[in-house]
Symmetry: C2
Subunit: 293 residues, 2 copies
Amino acid sequence: MAQLFGKVAIVGIGHIGSSLARVIKRDGLAGQLVALDNTPAHRDKALELGIVDAVTADVATAVAGADLVVLATPIGTYPALAQAMAPHLAQGAIVSDVGSVKMATLRDVQPYLPDGVHLVPGHPIAGTEHSGPEAGFAELFRGRWCILTPPEGTAAPAIEQVTALWQSAESQVEIMEAAHHDRVLAITSHLPHLIAYTIVGTATDLETTLQQEVIKFSASGFRDFTRIAASDPVMWRDIFLNNKEAVLDVLQRFTEDLTALQRAIRWGEGDKLQDLFTRTRAIRRSIIDARQA
Amino acid sequence: MAQLFGKVAIVGIGHIGSSLARVIKRDGLAGQLVALDNTPAHRDKALELGIVDAVTADVATAVAGADLVVLATPIGTYPALAQAMAPHLAQGAIVSDVGSVKMATLRDVQPYLPDGVHLVPGHPIAGTEHSGPEAGFAELFRGRWCILTPPEGTAAPAIEQVTALWQSAESQVEIMEAAHHDRVLAITSHLPHLIAYTIVGTATDLETTLQQEVIKFSASGFRDFTRIAASDPVMWRDIFLNNKEAVLDVLQRFTEDLTALQRAIRWGEGDKLQDLFTRTRAIRRSIIDARQA
């Protein structure tokens, strides 16, 4: 790949930030790659891994002269970060992010950006339950979707540059409205995580002996939930706090459906159970057909 | 391995039954291996795969002279099967099963068995979302638990023979009371499946456009649930109908916990969310430490 940017600043060199840094390094996409991170251990590790050219804890140093700034920190940090970096952003710079709630980026970042700075929010649909710069890898985004939600009126070349970045990461890029993104992700990602956190939490409240057996026999289904429920706590706290309406709406539907199923079990309505279980099987087939399995 | 049994009859040559048949064949554990199945396609496939010596749709033919009969059909078939095979069981025969609810085996099979026939119910904690004889494989049970729940007074040699069978399948065998098994599995397996079926069901009720996007972006969490929710519909209908009390009890706990979490989101109580998400992460670590991940 040709160089896409002069200086790039990645804000937060954790699992996703460090994976993106590895892509940028591997493909020579930036003239200079700087990581901004508050955690000394993350800065040291990023340097040691050789995935960035420089590290800093100073916002001005990180973003000054950058052609692209990518926020890869929990969403709750956005307002303070946007405010701190705004005075130091270069004319024509692109600000992007990798957060899971796109209305939050519009609400918490856009108001602070000076004229002449382009906002192209992004969300790579990728990740594992691991955290930190050592957990990243360049292939994380391969074959996955990256959704961009530029506000109306965003300059086309800025969108194209961010698109090229994610295509270099071997992602498929999709442009979408932020509000629609948040509704879709509330179903595909936020609700599943909430449910997984809940069920694993329910198990942690069991008496000790029973809890040990739950761990021992977890391969029977529970295990799959624990992987999801091992995702980063602060990142997920911020997702739920910032996509409240969409999450509460889909949670309401889920609860109604669960209550109906509970009633079917109580009254021994086997046909209702079998009907649902047959319908859900078809959805799995669609996902396999869509090559997302 | 040495031969453990003369004639063995496997009732239901599906995913689990055929996997067990493959183990028995591979290790030469039986003098003769017969499959009883109502589905002609399953019988044909089992013969074609060479995983059994003979197939039949006749209960008497299958179990006559058998040293071991293993039920590997949905739990709902047990009463009729037990009744049909009882008059043809040999003195000293062992009857076992692979069902996910062990109280059901005691309730629905034990009353029909003649004196001198040994009941050793079993449950291999293994399986995939696939069904049918072609989906089985001998290594399915490797490194997994198999729980046996023999009723009080069961002859020790019968328990030892069934234990040896599962050890040959490379499973670790655990002896447990049936009621306790059903309570543990309600948490580790039945509730997770119920939740997964529900969430995938909720998604199938969405308008078509949104549903297509859910499939497209399923890698963000939803996908993991669809794998579980693709499990055999009849098998799972019977599990819920037959472990009603334990499932409803753990479901009640889950619903309370989910409601508390819903309230925390609504009121923006970030610390409560973060606390829970931190606790659930520790459970994942325990599962990795227990080598069940």
